[in-house]
């Protein structure tokens, strides 16, 4: 059985600036891959490339056994199988939380409104947002908004979830409630690639941790290894600063 998502030799540059250089990564079903590294190391860009939000400049990305970095691939079909959550929530302010969650299932996947709402409500309920369903996003706290964004991503039954520093904009008190959901999803077997600054969370949840520096994966391994006995000096420096 080949990997769910396979990246090899990925390169991305903006003009002269090389943002990702020769990235190779393999994600199996039920894997939780944590990308760590300082800001500007390419974590977000990598996630955006995986979701085909950016055209890559070299390399291959395969998803479910087929190459998706081919320009002829219908990006919408791939994206509807991959969920993504952003640092700034990016909920649609003109829709209620429930409508935010049912938009893609109804318009992209053609689910009946009643079915979409039933699923959204059960997820909102599970994550403690049942009483917020009818409200508009701006009325919610940051933690609630980010949980709603997670529910929105989960409503489409993605096979892979990409999380881009989803707790970076939250105050520490609210970080826990969001990570709790991510942990629950990880435990129930969701495959995830996430960029994060929460090292203790990465240590507990990740099956594998990648340390990115200047657009390269400098070091990859199980969290126990990366956090207690990193191979690279650069990794050690980074961990000393953040731990």
């Amino acid at each position: 059985m080949s990997a769910l998502l396979e990246v090899s030799g990925l390169r991305k540059s903006y003009g002269e600036k090389v943002v990702l250089d020769d990235i190779s990564l393999s994600v199996d079903t039920h894997d939780v891959i944590c990308l760590i590294g300082s800001s500007g190391s390419g974590k977000s860009t990598l996630l955006r490339c995986l979701n085909l939000l950016e055209d890559i400049d070299d390399g291959v990305i395969t998803f479910e056994g087929a190459e998706i970095s081919d320009p002829r691939v219908d990006a919408r079909r791939i994206r509807s199988r991959i969920g993504m959550v952003f640092q700034a929530y990016n909920l649609f302010p003109h829709l209620s939380v429930l409508d935010n969650c049912t938009l893609a299932p109804r318009k992209v996947q053609g689910v009946q409104r009643a079915d979409a709402e039933a699923r959204a409500l059960s997820l909102l309920e599970k994550f403690g947002l049942a009483d917020q369903a009818a409200k508009h996003p701006d009325r919610l706290s940051g933690g609630q908004q980010q949980r709603a964004a997670l529910v929105r991503a989960l409503c489409t039954h993605p096979t892979l979830l990409l999380l881009d520093e989803i707790t970076a904009a939250l105050d520490p008190e609210l970080v826990g409630e969001v990570l709790e959901i991510v942990r629950a999803e990880a435990e129930s077997g969701m495959t995830m690639v996430l960029a994060t600054h929460e090292m203790s969370f990465a240590r507990e949840v990740a099956t594998s941790v990648c340390f990115l520096s200047e657009g390269r994966i400098l070091e990859q391994g199980p969290p126990a290894e990366i956090f207690s006995d990193p191979r690279e000096e650069r990794t050690r420096q980074f961990l000393r600063r953040v731990l």
Binding site: G9, R11, Y14, E16, V18, D21, D55, D57, D58, G59, V60, S69, D70, P71, R72
Partner: protein
């Protein structure tokens, strides 16, 4: 560059991208040609086309009327340029009055609300009549009596009301967090408006603003009812004498030529702002 050469796979992908791009260009070209050929066939193939062509698209008449129209169109342009400046200023002032929150300015706010409500309800044509014939008839000392002057004033009054609402919608579209963060820095409401909110608001409303100005360009023709000898007046005059309306089409072409550069300029401006502010991000 650190000695990177694209892989075979990447080269192949570039070929595919190029092929896809060529394909979209071809589709675009083909579709454009098909649509315009069909349209022109439908129009020129219609049973009444020869009469319509003779009445509206006659080359000799266009040539004959051109010099007079050319002279008259300057009047439209002058009127438009003068009015535009005042409209921008008054429109902004009215919009600012309407979003003011100071208790001292409540009367101004009320005036702003009543002004936009009432003026937008009055047909511009009626305003032109009222001012161009009514004001001189008042025999007020020190006011000009020219039809050109009062027609321009009528346009300014009318369009200020529309433009004020455009500006106001722009101001209200700026997120409240911008107000909060400016006031947190100690800026007064007025300073916040001037330095933070309005600069963002104006950029957002450039397209609807352009809409109003294009409309204003054409409404300079309303001055003809007050006896101003502007381009549409000249064209209609020609039509009445020669039973040919080609000059009106000529005037329309002039207006189009005036509008297009303005539209391209604003497109270019807003694209530039977007590039500068969103460079690379999201």
């Amino acid at each position: 560059m650190t000695g990177w050469t694209p892989s075979q796979h990447e080269l192949e992908r570039r070929r595919v991208r190029r092929r896809l791009r060529t394909r979209s260009v071809l589709i675009a070209t083909a579709m454009t040609i098909v649509v315009f050929v069909v349209l022109s066939l439908v129009v020129t193939g219609s049973p009444g086309w020869p009469q319509v062509q003779a009445l509206f698209f006659s080359w000799p008449d266009a040539r004959e009327a051109l010099p007079d129209i050319w002279d008259a169109i300057w009047l439209n342009i002058k009127m438009f340029l003068i009015a535009e400046v005042f409209i921008l200023v008054f429109g902004m002032l009215i919009a600012m009055a309407r979003v003011s929150r100071s208790p001292w300015l409540v009367p101004l706010r009320i005036v702003g609300v009543v002004y936009t409500d009432v003026i937008r309800g009055i047909p511009t044509l009626l305003l032109v009549y009222l001012l161009a014939f009514g004001m001189p008839a008042l025999h007020l000392q020190g006011l000009p009596n020219g039809a050109f002057f009062w027609a321009t004033v009528a346009l300014i009054i009318s369009y200020s009301a529309y433009v004020a609402e455009v500006f106001r919608s722009g101001i209200e579209s700026v997120h409240p967090s911008q107000w909060a963060s400016a006031q947190a820095l100690g800026l007064s409401r007025g300073q916040t408006l001037r330095h933070v909110v309005i600069p963002q608001a104006v950029r957002r409303v450039v397209p609807p603003l352009l809409n109003d100005f294009v409309s204003l360009q054409k409404d300079t023709a309303l001055a003809s009812v007050a006896g101003v000898f502007e381009a549409v007046f000249v064209a209609r005059d020609y039509g009445n004498y020669n039973f040919n309306y080609t000059p009106l089409v000529v005037v329309a072409c002039f207006f189009i030529v005036l509008t297009v550069p303005l539209a391209r300029l604003t497109d270019w401006l807003s694209a530039r702002y977007r590039r500068r502010e969103l460079a690379g991000a999201l």
